[in-house]
């Protein structure tokens, strides 16, 4: 654990990507199995111990530290694991740190009842750095500036294998990845994943921004507003994966017995309806899909009222043929063949958008808001299917955001790099004429869209214009106007204003604008499209 804790600390303070790769690779080479496998899993994906959550740590701490002092500390530090590691009462015994595997074993064996006794024992065996590393490892995502991809690249570098191969095997294997180390470090055969319904990394798009493309080289498709999914059938089993590779099969059982052949398909998960693109579009709003997300079990009523289907974008593998090396045009042709063999009830094909030229396409895109579609996708016709985001192949070209002027009402401190800065803002619109005594009602929350310099100014504004404190939340004097950009606005019962924005972000800070000139709720309501 000491070596792992030292690695974690070094990674926290290292900026250079190459140096991070070197540190991880060095650790992976020097550490025995299965410690290094657990460490790699923790860095790449985070480990999951059902009994140990952030709330578990919070509760443990509140038995040891005054709850108000805990909250103030946590709020300042911006990270529960770090706060706890700093506040944990130093044990009298000298540290006797467990190995990573031993820690993992102990953490896995804990249940909700035993954790309150066993986790403290484990923490007492470590120093402050060790406690930090253990708590980070125990509560999932480490968030220490190491992406999953970086960890895998470091593994590939450590043993001189290809990172694409690592990616390919990764999702078919489980921590601590003995097969992966056997192959890469010990020269044994590569893992066999052909008959497993495993996730293959998605090909992703860059925002188009100022780029102009030639439609002779690029095909255009609608960017449907659902969630990107991968449907995989192999070894007699079908699984549905989200963009991040999470298995969401259980949430959409209607899709698990409708794929009649082995394949890996890429598409948009949508719910039947007539909002996106009207009757012809055939898809409900994202809001409708959202009702179905995140559920562990699905009622019959739900299946009937909000049936899901996959609008197919691409095919990666079909009946044993890996098509990823082929160009988009060939894959599209293969997909158009395959669709005939798929039930219409659960599949359709994302249609291509025909345009004379780029200007014409821009006009078509302008109309996408009325169609409640997110925008367009542009795919280079000769592009293979490549994991990740490669410049020049795929672009997303979202419609322009909507804008509304709101007034800053509340602020909260951020976490991670923004800990201790007031960086999460709740803003509102007027429920009538502000000069006639109307009130502000919160309409959304945003924590992006400003520079680090602006963040400092905003932080200062919040600190010097606080009128009330509710725990970690500061209420401000409502003197600052934000121009807020967002993709769409919907009815919502969650907010007092009855409205919810999608992807709100700060577009401009209007230091100059008096708050009574901000927009009213009615102006925002008029922008609803579903």
């Amino acid at each position: 654990m000491d070596e792992f804790a030292a690695l974690v600390d070094a990674l926290v303070y290292t900026r250079s990507r190459n140096e991070k790769l070197r540190l991880i690779a060095e650790y992976l080479r020097a550490t025995p199995d299965p410690d290094r496998g657990w460490a790699l899993a923790a860095l790449a994906d985070g480990l999951d111990f059902p009994a140990v959550k952030s709330s578990t740590i919070r509760n443990l701490m509140k038995d040891r530290v005054d709850p108000i002092l805990w909250t103030l500390s946590r709020d300042f530090v911006g990270d529960t694991a770090e706060t706890a590691s700093l506040l944990w009462p130093a044990p009298e015994e000298p540290p006797s740190p467990p190995t990573v595997s031993e820690a993992v074993e102990l953490l896995s064996s804990m249940n909700r009842k035993s954790v309150v006794i066993e986790l403290p024992h484990l923490l007492d065996r470590l120093d402050a750095s060790g406690r930090y590393a253990l708590l980070k490892l125990a509560t999932g995502g480490m968030r220490i500036g190491v992406s999953s991809r970086l960890a895998k690249t470091a593994f590939a570098q450590a043993f001189d294998v290809s990172v694409d191969e690592v990616e390919e095997y990764w999702h078919g294997l489980a921590a601590p990845y003995p097969e992966l180390f056997d192959w890469a470090a010990n020269g044994e055969d590569p893992p066999d994943i052909e008959n497993l319904p495993t996730f293959r990394p998605f090909m992703l798009a860059h925002p188009l921004e100022e780029t102009v493309v030639d439609l002779a080289e690029y095909a255009a498709e609608w960017k449907w507003d659902g969630i990107r999914v991968q449907l995989v059938r192999a070894g007699g089993e079908t699984r549905l994966y989200s963009r991040s590779g999470d298995d969401i099969s259980a949430t959409f059982p209607e899709l698990l017995d409708v794929l009649p052949f082995n394949a890996v398909l890429d598409g948009e998960l949508l719910v039947r309806g007539n909002v996106q693109g009207g009757e012809a579009g055939g898809a409900a709003s994202f809001n409708a899909l959202q009702q179905r997300l995140g559920r562990k079990t699905v009622s019959k009523k739900m299946l009937k009222e909000a049936p899901a289907f996959v609008r197919l974008y691409d095919v990666l593998i079909a009946e044993g043929n890996d098509l990823r090396e082929k160009d988009w045009t060939s894959r599209r042709a293969a997909l158009e063949q395959l669709i005939a063999r798929l039930p219409e009830s659960h599949f359709d094909l994302s249609s291509l958008v025909e345009a004379r030229d780029f200007e014409h396409l821009a006009e078509i895109r302008e109309g996408s808001r009325d169609d409640a579609i997110e925008g367009l996708m542009l795919k280079r016709k000769d592009s293979p299917y490549i994991a990740g985001r490669r410049v020049g192949y795929w672009y997303k070209w979202k419609r322009d955001p909507l804008l509304v002027d709101c007034v800053l009402m509340y602020a909260q401190r951020g976490s991670g790099k923004r800990s201790s800065f007031f960086s999460d803002y709740t803003f509102g619109c007027w429920d009538g004429d502000p000069d006639q005594g109307a009130d502000l009602l919160p309409v959304g929350k945003a924590y992006s869209g400003f520079t680090d310099e602006e963040l400092k100014k905003l932080d200062r504004h919040v600190r010097s214009n606080t009128v009330n404190r509710f725990g970690p939340v500061r209420e401000t004097d409502k003197s600052l106007v934000f121009e807020v950009a967002f993709d769409s606005v919907h009815e919502s019962k969650r907010h007092k204003s009855g409205l919810a924005m999608r992807f709100p972000r700060i577009h401009r800070i209007r230091w100059d604008k008096p708050p009574h000139e901000a927009d009213r709720i009615e102006a925002l309501r008029a922008l609803i499209r579903d």
Binding site: V12, D66, S73, V77, L86, S419
Partner: protein, 334 residues
Amino acid sequence: MAAPFSWIKPEPHGIYIEPADCWVDPSRAVDKALVTHGHADHARGGHGQTVATPETLAIMKLRYATSDGATPVEYGETIRLPGGVDATYIPAGHVLGSAQILLEHAGERVIVTGDYKRRADPTCPPFEVTACDIFITEATFGLPVFCHPPIEEEMQKLLDRLAAHPDRCVLIGAYALGKAQRVIAELRAAGHTDPIYLHGAMEKMCRLYEEHGVDLGELRMVAEHTKEDMRGAIVICPPSALNDRWSRRLPDPITAMASGWMRVRQRARQRNVELPLVISDHADWGELTRTIREVDAQENWITHGREDALLRWCQLHQRRARALALVGYEDEDD
């Protein structure tokens, strides 16, 4: 007879002593100011009269060209202010010249600490615990997560890293008044006798410390040396220069920062610090609470910093306390 302590008034711009028509550490120009120490958030130019220790006055003269109306007071010395108020300057252990100010009037005793710490510091005399009725304390590191490690550990960390990278240099961001000189003096105490290189903004203050008897060993200016000279050396600059273009002239610097905030990893990351050195000239949580206990005043007034938590601690320990909302105090770089 006036209500108890009605002669001393916390105002947004400083502590006002009514019978003497005089302010402690005012954040704007006044006729008469008592100044605890030379940091910019406590000492400002433009006052009609400035009462401070000779060291603080020297610092203010250097930084703000304040010399008119300078009234020196030695540690332990009491001066009589108008309206029957006595002011005594007592070491605060924060930086060269830093003082707590004991104010006495009508048999009532009030201490304004300014900033202070309880650790040994080779550049200034240590904090003296002094009995009083009202103790006005800072709270810069007023959260229980703040526990400054022994400075020897931090020096060792620094020297180990330096030794591991003989081709690079370690660039330490340190506040130009106090922190920089303390780090240098502690390095000397740890046996590091090599020349230490300085950013131009550090030079005058280091010389001032030397004139006041603090030995800093051999100091060299970065501007007068080549990259080659500085390989394997320690370089000190103000925190603002850490990520500045200025550092391009250095040999592949390892970025370090000497500050109490470095205790929190995310704070170090926010400043792109690779080598955090938890070194502070302020009291940490343990020292703040210990000091409140030892001074044992009837009432504690808490100024700049994380006053909420210290207020809570006082409440939990049945000590009377209130938070003062003073404006203009900054704590970014310590």
